[in-house]
């Protein structure tokens, strides 16, 4: 059995969370509320020391670099970081209802940046690259003896046909009669097989997490394993 305070604390909290399986109870609620507080604090601290301090404070007041590392070489001053700092301060105004409209400015900047960077990248990586990956020669030849690899070839065409059918399923404004209907139906079935695979992989992840916890309880804490 472990003698470390950290491990005992962790074990107690683990049991508190798992007590939810019996029913919702004060121990579980305590643990969940503790998690909300701890994680918010943890993220804020790391954001401050890893990003805000070196990339904003130090760039504005180079001497600040010496606070965290007395031997640091001082970087150049970059007054431009006043822009994001100012926007950041405006963001905090959301807490004061009368001035909260100003907090829309930094949000607008964030939305514009996200969408602006995202648009072309998504177009490239999720549309063009996927098309590029789908448009492959439909007759695969084995390098060894020059014969046709029929298995791989058939798979290639099934993959392409499946993609097309799913795309047909995701079109909405073409009515539902004619040749599209059976294709869309087939697309739905392909999607279901895909979801089945996602389902299985998600179950796997959940189980690994459980095994990890039991490992901690039985091994690190109780020392049985």
């Amino acid at each position: 059995m472990s003698t470390s305070f950290e491990v005992w604390l962790a074990a107690a909290l683990t049991l508190m969370v798992l007590s939810f399986l019996w029913r919702d109870n004060p121990f579980y609620k305590f643990a969940e509320h503790l998690f909300v507080g701890v994680s918010a604090g943890y993220w804020m601290v790391l954001g401050f020391w890893t990003t805000l301090w070196p990339n904003a404070v130090v760039k504005l007041v180079p001497a600040a670099a010496r606070v965290t590392d007395p031997a640091a070489t001082l970087p150049d001053r970059e007054p431009l970081v006043l822009i994001p700092l100012g926007l950041g301060c405006l963001m905090l105004l959301r807490l004061w209802p009368r001035l909260s409209w100003l907090s829309r400015w930094p949000t607008a900047f964030a939305v514009g940046t996200t969408l602006g960077y995202n648009l072309v990248r998504t177009l490239r990586s999720d549309l063009l690259s996927q098309i590029h990956a789908a448009v492959l020669p439909g007759l695969l030849i084995r390098a060894v003896d020059g014969s046709v690899a029929w298995g791989a070839t058939v798979n290639q065409w099934i993959l392409l046909a499946g993609t097309v059918c799913c795309l047909v399923y995701f079109t909405f404004t073409r009515g539902d009669r004619g040749a599209r209907a059976p294709l869309a139906r087939a697309g739905l079935m392909v999607l279901m097989v895909a979801f089945g695979a996602s389902f299985a992989y998600a179950v796997m992840s959940r189980i690994t997490q459980l095994v990890g916890r039991l490992h901690f309880l039985l091994g690190d804490w109780l020392g049985i394993v």
């Binding site: 995701f170 909405f172 389902f199 998600a202």
Partner: protein, 268 residues
């Protein structure tokens, strides 16, 4: 000029084409009215589910996801809530809506008040239909599960952004024998919801549902434009695959040129 050569022309082509298609779609809808819409089974199930619950004398339960109002899926869900609420009002069926955010509660009340008024039954609207339960994820699910076990709703709607709590909610509904209609764009939860619910609006269907129900011409037009882009993608895929294959097995130069041109257009 070096900057002319440094433009990704094929990206410009696709982007321009997509934007053009959407502009065309919106113009088309504004001029000629809404397009022919494919039926979405999950959306048609809304009516039946509410009807069945009414016949059995059981209430309808609606959960608008577990995220706050700043999530697009929550907003889309409130659009669907409007039409579910209108049907419940028309049939005189009781509606219960537990929420896990106070903002969603307030917005839900507004939406339902309007649907009940529009259905001509403003007096049937009671603010308490929409209640705030709890902010915490599994705590919310546990209490909604209790509610489902006690009230035994005839229809359960799980529409919006869900995380792991979706499983708990769907399981409780299945146990109560409710008709369950789910809708979400959370890819990780979709498979579980499909397995546990009777009807599911899958990803894009969920967003399209909002356009279907709102009948907003711009939304429908944009949808029509997006469909045009998807059609173009389908054509490129089919033509491209055939072209690449033929160019591979024949030795015709023009085929190889055509293939190279096409691959350049889709070069990421």
């Amino acid at each position: 000029m070096n900057w002319l050569t440094s433009i990704h022309w094929n990206l410009v082509l696709w982007l321009g084409g997509a934007l053009g298609a959407m502009a065309w779609g919106i113009r088309q809808v504004r001029r000629n009215g809404p397009p022919r819409l494919r039926r979405i089974a999950g959306l048609e199930a809304v009516d039946d589910a509410v009807g069945r619950a009414t016949e059995e004398g059981r209430p309808v339960l609606y959960v608008a996801g577990t995220q706050d109002l700043d999530d697009v899926q929550t907003v889309a869900s409130l659009g669907i809530l409007g039409s579910v609420g209108a049907r419940a009002a028309r049939y005189g069926c009781e509606l219960i809506m537990p929420t896990d955010r106070s903002l969603v509660m307030a917005a839900g009340r507004e939406v339902l008040r309007e649907s009940y008024t529009r259905a001509g039954r403003p007096d049937d609207f009671v603010a308490d239909m929409v209640s705030y339960v709890s902010d915490d994820q599994f705590g919310f699910a546990a209490r909604v599960d209790g509610l489902i076990a006690r009230r035994r709703p005839g229809a359960v709607f799980l529409q919006g952004a869900f995380y792991a709590e979706s499983l708990l909610l769907a399981e409780a509904g299945a146990q109560a024998g409710a008709v369950q209609v789910a809708g979400t764009a959370m890819n990780h939860q979709l498979p579980f919801l499909v397995a546990a619910c009777d009807h599911v609006l899958i990803g894009e269907e969920f967003f399209a549902a909002e356009a279907y129900l709102s009948r907003d011409p711009d939304r429908l037009g944009s949808l029509q434009g997006q469909d045009l882009v998807k059609d173009a993608v389908i054509v490129v895929l089919v033509v491209g695959a055939c072209l690449v294959t033929l160019a591979d097995i024949t030795s015709w130069g023009w085929l190889a040129n055509a293939r190279d041109l096409l691959l350049k257009v889709v070069q990421p």
